[in-house]
């Protein structure tokens, strides 16, 4: 039985996802002791590769998703099932900062598929959980997915492809904007469909996904390549006055929403 991590990394005009993937892969090797396969395209591959992935899988980039800052190549995540060379796979976003071996626990869970449904925002304790829309269901997060290759998980990824191909239809049903394709939304619908719209306890990672919001800036506390201690600084407004607050984060994995901040952390 083989285990490994799969990263999708297609460079956009603004962000170098390949570089993010290299930094994340090094941390995966260090903290999880797992091999890393990257799914990328020719355009994203640098001429000189400073890091050797377990496998490099070249795939065509779907450039139809656009954000305010440009093209965002996030479609095609459904291919993870077929492309992963591992029996048990951790599928991670490239901007997920690993600082511990916590993710290894996912392989021990009595389930063949899991992802986050609960989030916490550092220094913003009152942020509510996200729903697809006011009248729809709670969002699942595609940032961290663990799956084992079974016929059931294949159904989930087949559903993910179906939802991606009919995203506007599902957006109409669930009342969210179809303009921007989000893997989180597609995953939410795919898992629910594959599970017959039944409760999802067994598909949920039993702890919160920690987001670093764009209003918080994180700094490494030292220059070690595998540093695990950070200072987070945020502006807080109380009674009309704005001041800065900080806190220390240690040995904790987190997802950095501000890509510029993530690039600074891995620089």
């Amino acid at each position: 039985m083989t285990r490994g991590v799969l990263l999708f990394a297609f460079n956009s005009p603004k962000f170098n996802y390949y570089d993010m993937a290299v930094a994340t892969a090094k941390r995966v090797n260090h903290f999880l002791n797992l091999p890393v396969t990257i799914v990328t395209n020719e355009e994203s591959l640098p001429e000189v590769q400073s890091y050797t992935f377990d496998k490099v899988i070249l795939a065509e980039a779907d450039k139809t998703n656009k954000r305010t800052w440009g093209i965002w190549i996030n479609k095609g995540r459904y291919r993870a099932f077929d492309l992963s060379p591992y029996d048990e796979t951790l599928l991670l976003d490239t901007d997920y900062m690993i600082n511990s071996s916590n993710l290894l626990k996912l392989f021990e869970l009595p389930t063949d598929f899991c992802c986050h449904d609960n989030t916490s925002y550092l220094m913003a304790p009152n942020v509510e959980q996200e729903f697809l829309s006011t009248y729809s269901v709670k969002t699942l997060w595609a940032t961290v997915i663990m799956f084992k290759k079974t016929s059931h998980t294949k159904q989930i990824f087949d559903c993910l492809e179906m939802v991606q191909n009919n995203y506007e239809h599902y957006a109409n049903i669930h009342g969210f904007m179809p303009v921007l394709f989000r893997n989180d939304y597609a995953l939410t619908l795919a898992v629910r469909i594959a599970n017959g719209h039944m409760p999802l306890e067994e598909y949920v990672i039993p702890w919160n996904l920690l987001h670093i919001a764009k209003t918080v800036t994180v700094y490494s506390n030292n220059d070690d390549e595998f540093n695990t201690e950070y200072t987070a600084i945020s502006e807080v407004t109380k009674r009309g006055k704005t001041r800065k607050e900080y806190m220390i984060v240690k040995d904790t994995d987190f997802h950095v929403l501000d890509k510029d901040n993530f690039m600074e952390l891995i620089a």
């Binding site: 021990e108 009595p110 220094m123 039993p206 920690l210 506390n221 800065k244 607050e245 806190m247 904790t252």
Partner: protein, 101 residues
């Protein structure tokens, strides 16, 4: 610029509330244990039940709401160790941060 200088220059205050919430999240995740085919949230109540029961085999409802047949003593030992290890780390990190008050 090192982070201590950064904090000084920004005149940033240490946020106890954010730290408390973060530590709760961090260490609650370490109190989740997959063992004997079930998923367990380690609580003093669950440890107490396992310690006080006299049967070798017991059936418990796990976090996935499934009944799981377990070896009581073996599960107790694993959960007790997880609880103690986690609480010691939580306590020492909290004390260290509280000293910043």
């Amino acid at each position: 610029m090192d982070t201590n200088t950064l904090i000084l220059e920004a005149k940033a205050r240490f946020s106890h509330n954010s730290t408390k919430a973060y530590l709760k999240d961090k260490y609650n995740s370490k109190l989740i244990v997959a063992e004997q085919g079930g998923l367990w949230k380690v609580t003093p109540e669950l440890i107490g039940f396992l310690a006080s029961s006299t049967d070798e085999i017991v059936i418990l409802i796990d976090s996935f709401e499934n009944p799981v047949l377990v070896n009581r003593i073996a599960l107790h030992d694993v959960l007790y160790k997880a609880y103690n290890d986690t609480m010691q780390l939580w306590y020492s990190e909290w004390k260290e941060l509280e000293s910043k008050r």
